[in-house]
């Protein structure tokens, strides 16, 4: 039954958009059928995940005429965790798309979008359940290529095309690393079956595998400095696609990395240290770049880099705990990282959908052209604020729970006898605290200047609340954020089951301590509920005070008689203090005019923080390489027949050499 459900889920999602395209454009059938199929597929997929969590690991193997390939599915708790996330957010995204990217407004691209939206979901589900490297790569490539078409939905815009191309290059390089990874794996395993290779984690082959996995999967996850494709792709895709990519697709990189790490019971110390360092850099630098952005979706995209950093921090400290056979640190660190994978999917999807409602209502992504939306779009604003509180890791929502688990791992590491663990814990916790404070500054900026105050443009002043199809998915996501925050104990068993997929140390047959015994889940629930109640009572009191207020007046502006909306503090002014302090990393560019004389001429000011890694490192080096390769240009004729000929020739030569 489980296998049937999985195939049904993958099939329905893949076919959803294509079947919808059979109906005439603009009809209700063409728009609603794909969503209904996606929903049905997702229900099947979620049911399969639940069955897996309830009844344990399943394997299904069928022959497949592809060389080296086998239709082998492996459904375990780790796969189920990721499946739940894929299907939940994909289904909600599809519903949101009904309102956000309707046929009558977007013509042909809507159809294309729905087709590839289903395909990307199916690809992700396939790679997560794949028990065979060839099947994994099929799923991976379907996902990566469908995502390329999703990113470049609005391909008449040059910025969108550029973002799509950067994404395509990045994902090709990532796939290349994975080809190398699976080839090395094949050489030690003797088959393309995905299971633990019979080598020690300290061996040079394992080192090669680790580096390749870090590069290939890290590129997809968007870890600094491999994040270059991410801001452009997420900013330029339609918002529900950004939600799916940021919430789920980049997690496939994390899935691959975690799956690889489950194979080694005793990783060398430098693996954990490397992940910890990558996490710290991604976290701090990612959130700094986010702070400096003026574009609300680009800002959210950099927060994905930050949150991948937090996940890597958790994985790193957990792995160090495994190296020193400290189960508590391992369970808390990796458990926290896995929970953060879920949490980030939920609140980031919520934030992207909220940002989508804003773009839909105002037509702009510039934070400094928004303002005053809280009065015009009260429900979308409430959803966005919920997501913001959650992503800042504040109690009582879900972000706090996963960060608390990672903190608890760091705290235990700090008290550990080993010097490496001590240093990792003692300095990891303050880094996480700093990431949290910077994220708070960033989201207060977005909410304060984008949603509160007076409208800064006519478009923001005429904004309208989003429709029901767009609000309902946001409400569901917000409810999950609250549920994990208030009742984390309910979700801990799934994490325990996922942690059990890690290979036990040789000779030991001990069970890991359940997460609930290491973290104060019941106390957290009680405190969270009390906090919500207290704030609720306080807000009711505030309402009464407001109702009894004798007067409403304009905001106090120190006696200035004619305040305008343009005198409000802008988002770039809000961030300028921090941007200036970290200008060594951010390299802000700007132009400030010099005003002279008692009646200066009108002047303009602008500031901008470019993508430093892309502009200062990747683009120049790629240009250099391209100049060196100019002599090979004659191969590239642009005729598909020729390329097919090349493929054939390469195959024949390879077969001859192989003999």
């Amino acid at each position: 039954v489980t296998e049937l459900l999985v195939w049904l889920a993958i099939g329905l999602c893949a076919a959803s958009g294509l079947l919808g395209a059979l109906f005439p454009r603009g009809t209700a059938m063409a728009q609603r059928l794909p969503v209904a199929l996606m929903a049905a597929g997702s229900v099947a997929g979620l049911a399969a995940s639940m069955l897996t969590l309830a009844f344990g690991t399943r394997r299904y193997v069928h022959p497949w005429p592809v060389p080296g390939g086998e239709l082998s599915l492996r459904l375990d708790a780790l796969a189920a965790m990721f499946l739940i996330q894929i299907f939940l957010i994909a289904a909600l995204g599809a519903v949101y798309g009904l309102g956000y990217w309707a046929d009558d407004a977007h013509g042909d691209t809507a159809r294309k979008l729905r087709s590839f939206f289903g395909l990307v979901t199916a690809g992700m589900a396939l790679l997560v359940v794949a028990g065979n490297a060839v099947l994994f790569l099929v799923g991976w490539e379907v996902m990566a290529l469908a995502a390329f078409f999703l990113v470049s939905t609005e391909d008449e815009d040059p910025a969108v095309r550029a973002a799509g191309m950067v994404y395509l290059f990045a994902t090709r390089i990532g796939t290349l690393c994975l080809f190398a990874f699976f080839t090395v794996l094949h050489s030690v395993n003797g088959s393309f079956d995905l299971h633990a290779p019979p080598i020690a984690a300290g061996s040079s082959v394992a080192t090669a595998l680790f580096v390749l996995a870090l590069a290939g999967f890290g590129l997809k996850a968007g870890a600094m400095p491999l994040h270059v494709w991410l801001p452009g792709a997420h900013a330029n895709a339609p918002s529900h696609v950004s939600a799916l990519m940021s919430g789920v697709l980049i997690k496939m990189g994390i899935y691959g990395l975690v799956r690889f790490l489950t194979w080694f019971p005793a990783p060398p110390p430098w693996w954990g240290t490397a992940l910890l360092a990558a996490g710290a850099v991604s976290g701090v630098v990612g959130v700094l770049f986010a702070l400096a952005q003026h574009d609300i979706k680009r800002l959210l995209a950099y927060h994905s880099v930050e949150n991948i950093g937090i996940i890597l921090l958790g994985l790193g400290i957990g792995l160090l705990g495994r190296t020193w056979s400290d189960d508590a640190i391992f369970v808390l660190g990796v458990g926290g990282a896995l929970l953060h994978v879920w949490n980030h999917g939920l609140f980031k999807a919520l934030l992207f959908l909220g940002a989508g409602s804003v773009v839909h209502a105002t037509g702009t992504r510039e934070i400094d052209s928004l303002g005053g939306l809280s009065k015009r779009m009260p429900y979308s604003t409430a959803g966005f604020v919920t997501g913001a509180v959650a992503i800042c890791g504040l109690p009582p929502l879900n972000g706090f729970v996963s960060e608390l688990l990672i903190y608890l791992a760091l705290v235990r590491a700090c008290a550990h006898a080993s010097g490496t663990l001590f240093a990792a814990g003692a300095f990891g916790a303050p880094v996480l605290a700093m990431i949290g404070a910077l994220a708070l500054a960033c989201f207060v900026k977005v909410i304060g200047t984008g949603f509160l105050g007076e409208p800064r443009s006519a478009a923001a002043g005429n904004a309208h609340e989003a429709g029901r199809a767009m609000l309902a998915p946001m409400a569901v996501l917000a409810a999950f954020c609250a549920a994990i925050g208030l009742a984390p104990g309910l979700f801990a068993p799934a994490l325990d089951a996922a942690l059990a997929t890690f290979a036990p140390p040789a000779g030991a047959s001990h069970a890991l301590a359940p997460l609930a015994s290491l973290a104060p889940f019941t106390t957290l629930s009680a405190v969270g509920v009390a906090l919500v109640l207290a704030i609720g009572v306080g807000l009711l009191w505030g309402r009464r005070v407001r109702a009894a207020a004798p007067a409403t007046v304009p905001t106090w502006d120190c006696g200035y008689a004619a305040p305008t909306a343009r005198m409000q503090y802008t988002s770039s002014s809000f961030a300028s203090g921090l941007v200036e302090l970290f200008s060594a990393v951010l390299r802000p560019r700007g132009q400030s005019p010099s005003l002279r004389g008692p009646f200066p001429a009108p002047a303009r000011f602008h500031s901008h923080v470019p993508e430093v890694v892309l502009d200062h490192a990747i683009t120049p080096s790629v240009r250099l390489v391209a100049r060196g390769l100019v002599w090979f240009r004659w191969i590239q004729r642009g005729a598909i027949q020729l390329y097919v000929l090349y493929v054939l020739a390469a195959l024949v030569i390879a077969l001859l050499v192989w003999r």
């Binding site: 700090c414 008290a415 207060v444 304060g448 704030i535 505030g542 007046v553 304009p554 120190c558």
Partner: protein, 305 residues
């Protein structure tokens, strides 16, 4: 051993005592300036007056404006229950409560700054930006300091970290703890907007941090702001006092007396600092906070043996 009476006392002290601290600070400052100054109980009178007044609201504001004072007050009250008052323990403690403690104040800050921006005033935006910027350095300083105590006690619960045995750690690792104490004093002053970081008595909106964020709050909501700020000062002050006075007598009355004397001493000390020092230029604040971080970091390095 923590008795139910201690828990009740802890809650009552949290609710009643904080404004007294402000009264003592103001009295000290008056004494330095050669004035008689307002009565020590003046903050209570002010609060009572504010809670009876009507409010004036800006037409720009929404529910977020009201959430600022409410969330900040509730978060401070919750955080207070996690902090041990002297040697008598905390009302609530569990593994990892130090993280909840720090994040509750962050929750309060989130809504205070959002409420400031809700008015659409450039002045309040400026104050909010400063608050958000400086906390990015105050948070790591706080955590670096706490990690020293985590290392010493092996616990992440404030009641244990600052519990019995703190005196013993002073004897063996005094150098680290002195650095942590200095760093936490800096965090206390910046988080509560005291001189040398911010002047609660300044009258120029351009130079304020905390006061300017609440410029538009009036009546009961402004009362909630002041009350919440007093609790925050009291709670962070209790952490510093416990670290500086690591004694336990075993007798409840004496323990409470040591704590009360410590808190009054802290209030006088803050008053003295505010009387003899000028505030820093705004640009120098991050440097001092980075200094506090480094101080605690050295405290950690000293423990690596």
């Amino acid at each position: 051993v923590l008795t139910p009476l201690d828990v009740v006392l802890h809650v009552v002290v949290t609710l009643v005592a904080p404004p007294l601290l402000l009264g003592v600070i103001n009295k000290t400052k008056a004494a330095f300036a050669g004035r008689v100054g307002p009565p020590v109980l003046q903050p209570y009178f002010d609060l009572a007056r504010l809670f009876q007044k009507g409010s004036v609201f800006s037409t720009t504001t929404t529910w977020v404006f009201r959430a600022g004072p409410v969330v900040a007050l509730v978060a401070a009250l919750f955080a207070a229950q996690l902090v041990p008052y002297g040697a008598r323990g905390a009302a609530l403690s569990f593994a990892g409560d130090m993280i909840l403690f720090a994040y509750l104040f962050a929750l309060g800050r989130f809504f205070t700054v959002a409420a400031a921006l809700d008015t659409g005033s450039a002045f309040e935006g400026m104050g909010g930006a400063r608050e958000a910027t400086f906390s990015c350095f105050a948070e790591p300083a706080l955590f670096l300091g706490l990690m020293v105590l985590v290392r010493l006690t092996g616990s992440s619960s404030l009641a244990t970290m600052f519990g019995a045995g703190l005196g013993g750690h002073w004897a063996t690792t005094g150098a680290s703890l002195v650095m942590v104490l200095a760093s936490l004093v800096v965090v206390l002053l910046v988080e509560n907007s005291r001189i040398p970081f911010d002047d609660p008595n300044t009258h120029l909106e351009l130079t304020m941090i905390h006061e300017v964020m609440v410029l538009d709050h009036s009546g009961p909501l402004f009362g909630a702001v002041l009350y919440g700020a007093a609790i925050k000062l009291f709670v962070l002050g209790a952490v510093v006092v416990r670290l500086a006075l690591p004694f336990e007598t075993g007798v409840a009355v004496y323990d409470w007396a040591v704590f009360a004397a410590g808190m009054l001493g802290l209030a006088v000390a803050i008053g003295v600092v505010e009387s003899v020092m000028a505030r820093l230029r705004m640009r120098q604040v991050p440097s001092l906070l980075v200094g506090a971080c480094l101080l605690s970091a050295f405290g950690i390095v000293l423990l690596a043996r």
